[in-house]
Amino acid sequence: MKSLSLYKIDPIPAYIVYEKPKKIIKNKRISIPEEIKAELQEKQEKILISEPSIALEEITSISPIPEKNFNRDVVNFSQSEISRYSSIIKQQVMSQWKKPSVTNSDLITEIRITLVPTGEIINTKIIKGSGIKSFDDSALTAIARVGSFEDLQMPSNLFEKHFRQFILVFNPNK
């Protein structure tokens, strides 16, 4: 199997991602241990945080992940760790975002961010624009004003898996 180029793939909605592996597995006749299967399920959960305080509740409400005894590099990280760093990122972007006055609601912009381990943003790409340039620009400006995220020191494997590249969804109507 050719190794996939990790970062050139457009994000695929989680429900599509779910199904693909099953097919591949069937064709190749590889049985996946139940544990890993369960692990994959965990991994697919989207993290949608509406408010930092709610995030804490969400984290506590997530059922504890059973302890696994195989290599942590292979398995997923706990949701609480991801949530913690997600909310650090969210806070820093929100404090720099000055929303324009565009009154017609329902504007959403999705921007893919690429970081280096120091937290510095090295690339931004609009993957779903709102259709209103000034709204998209305000999001890009906020990211440019952040420049480099602070307090993102984390295990390198966690960084590689979730934070080298992620998507910021600017959705003021949430």
Binding site: S3, Y7, A14, K90, P100, K161, L168
Partner: protein, 430 residues
């Protein structure tokens, strides 16, 4: 061996998997601070001095609704006037989000000047707009308002309203015994009296192009609707009917007026065809129907009616004449106006015996009170939908006040003279 291969595949698969399902972080709110913008004094290359500074007019414009904070020249480290002279780092140090620089030159056309200017996004280090603007040297305020509009549009994504005008009525005072229909710039400058009469004048309403005004005058002893061309001042009364003739409101196409007539005995909503000079009836009810306002798409009208016992806002389809009640909260909802997108209305709402300006999304029906003063009336919405100006009382004086549609910024319009009422916001004027 096969087992090993399988394991490698699993490992490969698991690690590539994580990159496919990318983490999504939702940004739901932004900073509450105003946008910091620096407007460098425009490099004035004409032989005579400027009477009013462009950057000062622009500063006042941009700060009027609380959305911008404009850095004064005293706080600047340099005064660039061209793209090449801008060092982003200087402005980043000053915590500036956007920068405007420009220079004014003589135009080939006599009596005109040309301003070339640039708007920079400091964080992203790029020019987001550059343009050359020309205008009359005599109307430097208009040129400045024009620039403010462009800056506003580029940053906020909706048209600026600094070149729009406001019509209003002022009541007789000690130094003027007449009622006056006045028009001024939105900042209160350049006020003129369009029509003056010892008898009441009411309900000014702009034509969709902003070139004419419809209003009610009692100069003939009874109420009559007049149309006046602003540039020439010529005016004429439209076809008079028995009883009340009031509340004219132009259709978006400009071919009709909605108005209130009581020729059948009680007030109902009628349409006046300006070409055919004829009336046709829209609502027919024994209650009072009044204060019509056209929807931006021209398909329906808002009006106030007491048909249910208390004044409420209704919407009528102009073609089918089907009526739908829109407001259900409280026992007094009146004088409604559509927002420019036609999705919301702004109106007078009474709560606990106090009259407020309120807004409501037509679909959801939920009322949001904008003003915390009392006796607020006659709301008029800016053509970009972002600001409401209304009449209110301060120390028993009639004044005009304004509030942004998010309720965050309030302001009072300096009254030029007398006591002012019934504001009407012009469309965007070219």
């Amino acid at each position: 061996m096969n087992a090993l291969k399988g394991l490698i595949l699993i490992l490969l698969f698991v690690s590539s998997q994580s990159s496919l399902s990318q983490l999504r972080i939702e940004i739901t709110g932004g900073a509450e601070d105003p946008i910091n913008i620096a407007v460098v004094p425009i490099d004035w290359k004409l032989e005579f001095p400027q009477e009013e500074y462009l950057h000062e007019i622009i500063k006042k414009d941009l700060e009027s609704f609380g959305e911008f904070k404009v850095l004064p020249p005293e706080g600047m480290l340099s005064f660039p006037s061209t793209e090449e002279e801008v060092f982003y780092r200087d402005w980043r140090l000053l915590n500036v989000d956007y920068l405007v620089v420009g220079n004014a030159n003589k135009s080939e056309i006599e009596g005109e000047l040309k301003i070339s200017y640039f708007i920079f996004d400091i964080a992203r280090e790029r020019v987001i707009h550059k343009a050359i603007l020309s205008g009359s040297i005599k109307s430097i305020r208009r040129v400045a308002h024009n620039m403010s509009d462009k800056i506003y549009k580029k940053v906020q994504g909706i048209p600026g309203i600094f070149s729009t005008r406001l019509a209003y009525i002022d009541k007789p005072s000690l130094d003027d015994k007449n009622y006056n229909l006045r028009i001024s710039d939105i900042d209160g400058f350049n006020g003129i009296s369009l029509f003056s009469s010892p008898q009441p004048i009411m309900s000014p309403n702009w034509s969709p192009l902003g070139d004419r005004m419809a209003y009610v005058s009692f100069e003939e002893g009874t109420s009559r609707i007049f149309i006046q061309t602003i540039s020439t001042g010529t005016r004429s009364g439209i076809k008079l009917e028995k009883g009340i003739n009031s509340s004219p409101n132009w259709s978006p196409k400009g071919d009709k007026l909605a108005a209130v007539l009581s020729k059948e005995g009680n007030p109902d909503i009628f349409l006046y065809d300006l070409k055919r000079e004829s009336w046709s009836q829209i609502t027919e009810h024994f209650g009072i129907d009044t204060e019509p306002d056209w929807s931006p798409n021209g398909k329906s009208l808002l009006f106030t009616s007491n048909r249910s016992g208390s004044p409420q806002i209704y919407q009528v389809n102009v073609r089918s004449k089907r009526v739908k009640r829109l407001t259900f909260e409280g026992t007094y909802n009146a004088r409604a106006r559509y927002s420019p997108d036609g999705k919301s209305i702004v109106f007078v709402h009474r709560r606990d015996g106090v009259f407020h300006i309120a807004t409501q999304k037509i679909k959801s029906g939920k009322v949001r009170i904008l003003t915390d003063t009392s006796l607020d009336e006659s709301p008029t919405i800016s053509p970009n939908g972002n600001v409401v100006i209304y009449a209110t009382k301060r120390k028993d004086e009639d004044i005009l006040a304004g509030i942004t549609i998010d309720g965050k910024t309030k302001f009072i319009l300096p009254s030029l003279r007398g006591e002012v009422r019934e504001p009407a916001w012009s469309p965007i004027l070219d």
